[in-house]
């Protein structure tokens, strides 16, 4: 097996010859467009929509190539190749995003065709990672592994990928469109703040169906999604999705970018939106859209469970440092004797979501050794090895530690989501990364982090909210105020089943004082918490006033 051969049991979708042929044609087309641009035959106005359709942005310091990682699922050969790309054509790093994709921040235009060729070698590309189209569908990072799962969402995420890729009707939507799907009743995909959030479930006969929510979103106007349907049968899934997209495509406000997302349409139309979708659905030639069980089965074959051994659950070794890591990073698996491991990409003082080329290769090796060669990217900007033998956990931890990837902070205050912010992003109005770094350094003590318990801090560098600040327990939004960076704080957000938009607490803080403000919020929580309460529990019980008083009381 060479380095680019996908491991036998990793559950990634394997391209066929038609897929590969298409990808080569697409690369050749874009190579030609790049050559014409470099030769001065295309202006930037002509070239920009072409490069965006291929995931290529022009950011603050350089071009950025955003690579699609379908539903955050990678095999070891793919991750190894991403590491190679980072080393050869970037500065040795990649940045994993909240859309479960990866970005290369130092791309040269002239290198892009070679980068795309390298991606194609492992069945990857950068198509539909930008533009007003259906973006990468995200899903549960523990899909196929978690005990609370009712339906494995990977099969349906792949069906959505195939349906939405180059869909001729939905290539020029009013605005970008993001779908999340989960197969667990416990929402780990932020379904209610997506354009469409799908919950796959089963009825009393064991048949698969889908609960569909639409019109959620963050950004300038954060809105919790509206439930459209409690049950869409599996065979009607694509027909119903098509109906939702059609209504949006026809009525979304194209003339105003700030009102063009589906959330505005759903908010404004209310019940009428649901009824319009139903009418569209009823009048469609539904046989044409029927999801054939044979197709579901054929795609399902790509996601067959790996050959788990018959094992018993076992006690973890006594090593205290290992146990501290395991207490946050190791999660129960549906298969006895196995566990899922979350790998923190949030070292203290590090850049959230960044991984070096060496680290990507190390994780690829460890995945092959311990997880059937399968890796997941989380929307919290971490990685997951979904299927690890419990007896291998200690060895895996040692391997991760050697790669600088064993920070035991999953779900704790330093496990921060942060967008690239003004350090990289051309749209940003303030920096995000240094704020995340300083907060994690302030709370570096793991004992203190464990004492604080679960606490989600999300940071966005502009109102577009790529850092999901609205749905954090403590949300931080960087804005420009007369040429200086200031940071607004929201409290009480949630991206799970009890989804909520955080409440703006008061006047913004400066770059120099925002970390102290977070410290004040935490000490206020500690002072008021009842036994067993998380930050969000205490906030919901006592409300915003004690936090506000602590932050803004005169000295």
């Amino acid at each position: 097996m060479n380095a680019l051969t996908p491991p036998q049991y990793a559950r990634t979708y394997r391209y066929d010859e038609i897929d590969r042929e298409f990808l080569q044609e697409r690369i050749a087309e874009f190579r030609g467009q790049i050559e014409r641009r470099l030769a001065g035959e295309l202006t930037e106005d002509e070239f920009k929509p072409l490069r965006l359709m291929n995931g290529l942005y022009l950011q603050l310091h350089a071009y950025m190539l955003r690579v699609a990682i379908p539903y955050g699922l990678l095999n070891s050969a793919q991750l190894r190749q991403l590491g190679r790309i980072a080393r050869r054509w970037d500065r040795g790093f990649g940045h994993f995003t909240t859309r479960q994709n990866i970005q290369f921040n130092w791309t040269k235009l002239e290198d892009v065709p070679a980068m795309l060729e390298a991606l194609a070698e492992v069945d990857m590309h950068a198509i539909q990672t930008s533009g007003n189209c259906i973006r990468n569908t995200t899903t549960d990072e523990y899909a196929g592994a978690t005990p609370d799962e009712v339906v494995d969402p990977l099969v349906y995420a792949e069906i959505l990928r195939q349906w939405s890729t180059l869909h001729p009707e939905f290539t020029w939507l009013p605005r970008k469109f993001k779908i999340a799907i989960t197969g667990s009743p416990n929402d780990r995909v932020a379904a209610q703040v997506h354009d469409v959030g799908v919950l796959a479930k089963r009825n009393e006969r064991g048949e698969v169906g889908f609960e569909v929510h639409a019109g959620g979103g963050l950004g300038r106007t954060p809105i919790i999604a509206r439930k459209l349907r409690d049950w869409v049968p599996e065979s009607e899934f694509l027909a119903y999705m098509e109906a939702v997209l059609r209504v949006y495509n026809a009525l979304g406000q194209r003339e105003n970018i700030y009102k063009a997302r589906i959330k505005i349409l759903v908010r404004d139309l209310g019940d009428e939106f649901t009824q319009m979708v139903e009418r569209e659905y009823e009048r469609m030639p539904r046989d044409r859209y029927r999801l054939d069980p044979d197709i579901v089965a054929a795609i399902g074959a790509h996601f067959a469970p790996p050959p788990f051994a018959a094992l018993e659950d076992q006690e973890l070794p006594e090593d205290p440092e290992f146990r501290a890591w395991a207490s946050t990073s190791v999660r129960a698996h549906r298969q006895p004797g196995y566990a899922s491991v979350t790998i923190s990409l949030k070292p203290i003082g590090g850049i959230p979501g960044d991984a070096s080329a060496d680290q990507m290769e190390a994780v690829a090796d460890l995945a092959e050794r311990h997880s059937f060669g399968e890796i997941r990217v989380t929307h919290v900007q971490n990685l997951v090895l979904p299927h690890v033998r419990q007896e291998d956990l200690h060895a895996l931890w040692q391997g991760l530690r050697a790669a600088g990837l064993a920070t035991p902070n999953i779900g704790l205050i330093s496990d921060i989501i942060a967008c690239p912010g003004m350090d990289y992003c051309a749209l940003a109005t303030a920096r995000s990364i240094p704020i995340a770094q300083r907060i994690s350094e302030r709370f570096a003590s793991l004992d203190r982090q464990h004492d604080i318990g679960e606490c989600f801090i999300n940071i966005s560098g502009c109102i577009n909210a790529c850092g999901h600040h609205h749905v954090a327990h403590i949300g931080i939004l960087g804005v420009d105020k007369r040429g200086e960076e200031v940071y607004q704080v929201t409290l009480g957000g949630s991206a799970t089943n009890d989804a909520a938009i955080g409440e703006l607490i008061g006047p913004a803080f400066s770059y120099d004082t925002i970390v102290d403000a977070v410290e004040t919020l935490i000490t206020t929580y500690i002072a008021h918490r009842s036994p067993g309460e998380r930050f969000i529990d205490t906030y919901r019980r006592i409300g915003v006033t004690p936090f506000k008083d602590a932050l803004y009381a005169p000295a």
Binding site: L38, K108, D354
Partner: protein, 100 residues
């Protein structure tokens, strides 16, 4: 052509910035009439010469060498941008790991 180029009348010395077409790197344009990698290598236009400077800088876009030309006001004491965003364009990301 970039809409960012439509700047309000300058009240401070002005340089121009853009991204180089070939590799996207930040470049700077001053009275020397050449796009440079470093802002330290250029001299600013006086406020009343900013409009003429913009016309020269935009030639770089027409020649397809640079992308997204816009004006940046700088400190009269030296070519240091007044706004933080452009100071970041000068120094690169403020985070160490990838900035080398």
């Amino acid at each position: 052509m970039s809409t960012k180029a439509k700047a309000r009348p300058a009240t401070a010395p002005v340089v121009f910035t853009a991204n180089r077409l070939r590799d996207g790197r930040v470049v700077w344009f001053g009275t020397e009439g050449l796009w440079r990698d470093s802002i330290a290598e250029i001299a600013p236009f006086a406020p009343d010469a900013a409009e003429a400077g913009l016309a020269l800088a935009r030639q770089g876009e027409r020649d397809q060498n640079v992308v997204g030309v816009y004006a940046v006001e700088v400190d009269p004491a030296g070519p240091i941008p007044l706004k933080f965003r452009e100071r970041l364009r000068v120094q690169g990301p403020s985070v160490a790991a990838e900035a080398a």
